[in-house]
Symmetry: D2
Subunit: 349 residues, 4 copies
């Protein structure tokens, strides 16, 4: 039984507390928040749990083995560092920190102390994204040609981070999890429409050392909500629509043929004669997806990693890689799309 | 009654011939194509019309006042130039030419000879796009914040032009027609997946001297067909889905409020205190659209311009502006998204 | 402040308890359920509230002014009757009773004791259905021609009632609320696919003393979930899709014209010459709907009715009318669609 | 090479003429229509074909082996009879005649003369319906529980037949083709909204000597166009949406379990203990459908049947069965849904 403290009981905290409580291996011990009203709510919901405005009381509690940090992004680094120094395993909301230097520092601290440090890349724990990874890894899709995501809606404007750090972080964590390659450069364009506020619309392109391209469109100012990803492969193509209630993933047996044979990149390297590009279309298939809440899967996984001393799927290294891309994207945004290299030493394997 | 010759009777030519025939002011006189089989089809469909493999016979025909050129892009410039020199009014399929130099040359030739030179930017003649222009011009939308278009499907791969020249040209012509401002720079990223072939997926960002951004996603290798444009304004927002059978345009009375008042950019220029961004949502409205085929409207307009000596809506100048952007986009594509300026002298008013 | 007891803490009970608690005028006093585990959940969620397996303790509690009954249908009559006899105001889940005789008996008991007796016809408290009623009453739709509803999904099979009593009851309560006329006869067809179990698919037609028809399709064995109602009027037509996240109601300015004028029934009563039926199509409009949870609106309304001695919108009379139709439909089902009259004396105004 | 005459060149005739012309085995010989303007169109489209206002000239033409009748329904019987008597093979638009007596008479005449008599039940020649038949016959779906179709749109009001004869005929021909059983009774309800005109909205239920039910909703006065059929089986379920551009058929691996085993009717015949109905959900699959125009398949089939002396898929017997149901439905409509038996002698095997 792992004792867990929840730091931050705002929008996401109550979901975390509920999921800790529902895990057989989890013991919800303490909750902290700076706002007394939030603590009153927490106390009435979880009568036996220690509720406090003092985060340090949570860290000092010997029954607390691990903490989950669900506070504003700007506070993640200091709170997580303090928790690690207090010897607690840590799960931090995404993004793990505001800079890659901070993320690296947390990763090193956890490594040195042999503690589990996980980041709340929620989507990698959904059955949809796990199925996509399985399809790609199992070679059902063939060579991956592109990953294209649209993640737009009206609101919520953030004050401290731009739309890339708020929404594109989801796609970057998915890309990190499902694609077999790491990006080598980023180009980003975008705009803020409220003076003095960060960008509310942005477009990211990720380049790879391969004929693969990824693109993400994020927007806080769209009239409709869209969560749709297209993944093109040499054999099959995937449409992942997260707003579909049940058939979230559709696999299309469609593609091109070059000179009559199903297109594989290796077969196409004969530029000296005229290519004849044809099209083929077959069945569409929507695999059944298990409906377990992502946060339940994630919390169970976090507790298991603590129990068994394993690295989590969404570990500090993946958090760092994502933050490096976010930093490069912000830099590219300021230069109207100039590609920013993700230097080899910066690219964490 | 204007005598019309059709040069090129492939995919689009038959639609043009039919629309010329159906116009009270149009007299379908001659059709040329290099392929005898196409001419046999043309002759059996239009018994009285002169069908020939010799384009020059069409130009030499004194009953031909105007020609419509529906041939591969690479031939547009020479054919159009020859037709203008023969004193014919000209309507050319999009894009008008392969280079802005050629487009400029055609524009000058038409100007000197006082001939109508039109480009087949079909979408600006659809009721949907005309309604969007009317909504924006009538100030129902407010300040325009962004134009975002997705135009993807499986096929048809072109050999002579990339996906930008093939598909994005539609969006660029729509942007040229409906937005009150001209872009000042372009960033483009993309990739070709068949060795030796042009890019089949691309992303364009257009920058403006205003808090306005435009983005276009074009893709020949998508599992599903999408034709969807989001237009965000300070008062209302538009979703234009060209695949909808009837409600192609939906106007959403949605937006943000800054410090309690409906957001206008002028009101937002007070960066010294904390902005409070709120959201408002009202009715949605889908205006009824007239169902006349765009090509019918376009052909009628072309004949009227000839008759009355007027400039067409999609004139040579708009064709040139679009081609300048296409050129800059191709240049940016080769530099992984570096923004290419559309120099003032290059920007045709 | 009205003291409220909740009888039955299964699927719907927790929602009721939460909504009582959230109302300024409601005081959640007691909860009863036969299953101890449910009471443990209730007690931990609402520490100060009296939780008991003895429904009579709730009724005996002097702080309880009103009870909400959320138990299986077969128990509604006896529990509601006992509660009324104990002098409590009552809100019963739908359908209010298993027979119209029982419903009538409850209505009389409440009338005699001057107590509020309401039925949980939840949909009449949704903003969508209230908007439809407003549109029809305000004459924006014209004469109503038909009401057509599809309410199908996979599961949940009930053992004690058939699909008509389980699902069609929603449509019948909506029809009762929004249409200006009462049905005079019912025809129903359907089938059960599991031996010994009630019908799981059924079709109801309601006849009126007017050129108006209503039809309801309910099905527990459908591969997809559908909640879609079409309402045709002489001026406009409504599509109400309850699964749409925001634009649940779309109003189409479409219809027919007879001999050139917009069709009104009175104008059409000239059968002696040839009718020319034409079609017209105008704008579509989706009114903004307030997002308050229906149960919140309903609970507030119930408490206000108690406070002010008013009849609720979904009163015992509407419950009785709905049950009379359910009874007639079950009778028609056994006779393969023979129309069953809803006799005048049975039709409660 | 079979010489074909087309009788009636209105809405459907031009499609027929084009498809005859495009068949290698078909020789378009003559076209008749009472309206001279239609013949002018036909003549300019098909210069070598004999165009006449005299249908008898078509029948007298020795080069004409077969005729296709595409005239108003009320003329089908007389024209088809005359054509058969002239020794011509006949394909008639649906429904084949206005009464089952007439249909029977035509069937007998064709039998006696050993001529092919086919009816234009177009849908049975679509790849979607052929795939559904194949899935049902191949036992992939299990026992069929229900067939539920919605076929609604705005217009076109017919003057001579009601909406059942105009639209439901499509579903009845599909049901006749894909279901393994024949209906034994019909219940129909509906209404006409224009005085003196036939019903424009109707609901049909078909009963079978099995736990199978079919239902069809047809409506000329709907704000949106819907063409959607649900087919429930004991193993899988089908959604057939004819308006989908490509995935018209979706097969859902969903259903119920009774006492833990996948539900088959035979297994469920144990009413003496409590049934436990559960639900299972698996993958969804959309088979690729060949895109050949249905009329092309149909015309090829008609010519092959003539050539090889075979019975067509949509033969006179199927036309007769469909008309018997239409007659019974019209009778039931007048009696507000009373079930009308399809007597054994009337049911053509």
């Amino acid at each position: 039984m792992t004792g867990v403290g929840v730091i931050g009981y705002g929008y996401w905290g109550p979901n975390i507390a509920r999921n800790v409580r529902e895990q057989p291996g989890g013991d919800l011990v303490a909750i902290s928040d700076l706002r007394p009203q939030r603590l009153i709510d927490a106390a009435s919901r979880y009568p036996g749990v220690k509720a406090t405005t003092e985060m340090r009381e949570v860290l000092a509690n010997p029954r607390v083995d691990a903490v989950v940090i669900a506070t504003p992004v700007s506070t993640h680094y200091e709170l997580a560092l303090e928790a690690l120094r207090a010897g607690k395993h840590v799960l931090v909301e995404k993004p793990m920190a505001m800079t890659s230097a901070h993320a690296l520092r947390l990763m090193e601290e956890a490594d040195r102390r042999n503690l589990v440090l996980a980041v709340d890349h929620t989507f990698v724990y959904t059955s949809a994204v796990r199925k996509i990874r399985e399809l790609i890894a199992g070679d059902g899709i063939g060579d991956i040609y592109y990953y294209d995501s649209v993640r737009v809606n009206l609101g919520l404007f953030q004050h401290d981070v731009n739309v890339v750090w708020d929404l594109a972080v989801h796609d970057l964590s998915i890309i990190d999890y499902v694609l077999p390659l790491r990006p080598v450069a980023v180009s980003a364009t975008g705009l803020g429409h409220v003076t003095g506020q960060p960008e509310n619309i942005a477009y990211l392109t990720l380049f790879f050392d391969a004929p693969l391209i990824a693109h993400v469109h994020v927007n806080w100012l769209a009239p409709v909500k869209v969560r749709r990803t297209l993944i093109g492969g040499s054999r099959k193509m995937i449409v992942y629509d997260d707003l579909e209630p049940s058939e979230k993933i559709k696999v299309y047996d469609k593609g091109i043929t070059v000179n009559g044979s199903e297109h594989e990149l290796s077969a196409a390297s004969t530029p000296d004669y005229q290519m004849l590009v044809g099209y083929r279309a077959g069945d569409m298939w929507a695999p059944h997806l298990d409906m377990t809440e992502a946060l339940t899967v994630e919390m169970r996984h976090f507790l298991e990693c603590i129990d068994q001393g394993r690295q989590p799927i969404a570990d500090a290294a993946s958090a760092l890689r994502v933050i490096q891309i976010l930093e490069a994207a912000s830099q590219s945004l300021r230069q109207r799309g100039r590609a920013i290299e993700l230097h080899a030493e910066r690219r964490v394997a």
